[in-house]
């Protein structure tokens, strides 16, 4: 365990100008299994790795539908995620009721970021221990955002969060320029390839441990999707056709690049 004189109170800065409790909260996000998000001109997709505690246990839910047009993938404390996703659902409902308008995705993300920021500044509170990737579509097209417990939110072409997410990020950084014009099938394939990078040795993506979330028009492997392309989560058998599109990893001489150091258990400096 790391300890520090300035980490018992999240509202007090360390002499280095850091808020240690906030940084620990960001560590909590890195403990959660990985989630990957990508965006094209027409679609936004999420891919997440579900964990189970053992052979007898079910897999932990990683994706939540917020509204017709918005969904999230989480990494970190699921209980905190449920609190925040309930809040997001209320915001979405309120926008629908008061203005008869689906809430703009950026505003929804801003409201939870503002909520998280308050927890980093008020005495006697703790930051949320969860990070989100938020996808959605509105009048300005499809979007992908990252939300983190520090109260920051950013929009991305592609992003990953959670354990070993640096490996996925490295993959995304290499390929992101092709995402803009990619088909939905290609986008998901890139997402699966990125997610695969976060797996431990000898593990692989299966229909049981992989969740796919998306907004935008239906893919060739989907049925009964309304033309508006609402947010939907694919799990179980329907994931198989997408897993089948993956290009097998070169298991030969070229060993996969090791996950960048500082990804899992980071020793806090200072």
């Amino acid at each position: 365990m790391f300890r520090n004189t300035y980490d018992s109170d999240n509202t007090v800065f360390s002499p280095q100008g850091r808020l240690h409790q906030v940084e620990y909260a960001l560590e909590a996000v890195k403990q959660g299994s990985a989630a990957v998000g990508l965006r094209s001109k027409t679609h936004s997709v999420l891919l997440a790795l579900k964990r189970s505690t053992g052979e007898l246990a079910s897999y932990q839910q990683k994706m939540f539908r917020i509204d017709e047009h918005v969904g999230i993938a989480i990494a970190g404390l699921t209980s905190d995620a449920r609190v925040l996703s309930n809040f997001m659902r209320q915001q979405a409902m309120s926008s629908k009721m008061v203005f008869n308008r689906p809430i703009p995705v950026n505003r929804l993300v801003s409201t939870i970021a503002d909520k998280a920021q308050v927890n980093t500044q008020e005495y006697g509170r703790r930051p949320y221990g969860v990070g989100f990737l938020v996808i959605g579509q509105d009048q300005t097209g499809p979007h992908l955002y990252e939300f983190s417990p520090s109260g920051n939110s950013y929009e991305y072409y592609a992003m990953s969060i959670g354990a070993r997410s640096q490996s996925a990020k490295t993959y995304l950084e290499k390929h992101y320029e092709s995402f803009e014009d990619a088909s939905l099938e290609d986008l998901i394939r890139h997402g699966l390839h990125a997610l695969r990078e976060t797996l431990q040795q000898d593990k692989e993506l299966t229909i049981n441990n992989t969740s796919i979330g998306l907004v935008g028009p239906a893919s060739a492997h989907e049925t009964n999707v309304p033309p508006s392309g609402p947010f939907r989560i694919l799990e179980g058998d329907v994931v198989q056709p997408f897993l089948d599109t993956m290009i097998p990893k070169d298991t030969g001489a070229a060993a996969p690049a090791p996950a960048a150091a500082g990804d899992e258990d980071v020793q806090m400096a200072g």
Binding site: K41, T42, M97, V98, F99, N100, R101, P104, N106, R107, Q137, D138, Q139, T140, G141, P142, G216, P217, G229
Partner: protein
Amino acid sequence: MPMERILSPNDPITAPKMPSLPASSTHITGTSVLAIKFKDGIMMAADNLASYGSLARFKDMQRLQAVGEHTVIGAGGDMSDFQYIQAMLDELIIDEFTAQDGHSLGPAEIHEYLAQVMYARRSKMNPLWNAILVGGVKDGKRIWKINLVLPPRRFLSFVDLLGTTYSASTLATGYGAHIAQPLLRTAVEGKEDILTAEDALKILEQSMKVLYYRDARSIDKYQVATITARGISISESRRLETSWSFAEGIRGYGAQTQ
């Protein structure tokens, strides 16, 4: 000028004792608002009179108000409640503008918001005593649907003090709902996509004239708002050309000679 305290539902002192509002306590009132759809958008008209009972008290009242870039509202009924609504919507539009995120409230959103406010107030037994027309045009295109650019959408809808709403290609509030609405329907229905701005103006002008002849709370000075995809314009006040020579021989009009 010293003001007399008047029993009002909006007065914090008298309001708690007055759960329901007698119609007679609305003081400064506006009469009809008319609105129609035409080829390029919505046209709306309202006269410039704010009455104090049967007294023509203010003859320079503007009852048409732009709300944001895509919407105009027109109100009849209590003019102080209308001014309150204007202030509320101005604040709403400023909040939306300052977000600077590419989203803006269109006529449909403003109408829904107004309906919710009107219904909430009536549920507190303290309604905003108005009938309001909301008209506008907002680009309906969605970028995320590839190769599909929807044409600009016209929007025209009604909301009143009870939160009641309805839409049609012609709408009128107050006395106009009785006198002008049938005329507007005859002139507009089925021709919404054909009528030019010029045609629409003529139709409204004619209806305003009939209303001026028939409605004792009206005046011959009015404004016209035009909302198209290109934006909003609200005209300067204009006069109705009326003729009263027919009244010469009618007993009951003008000075009686016998």
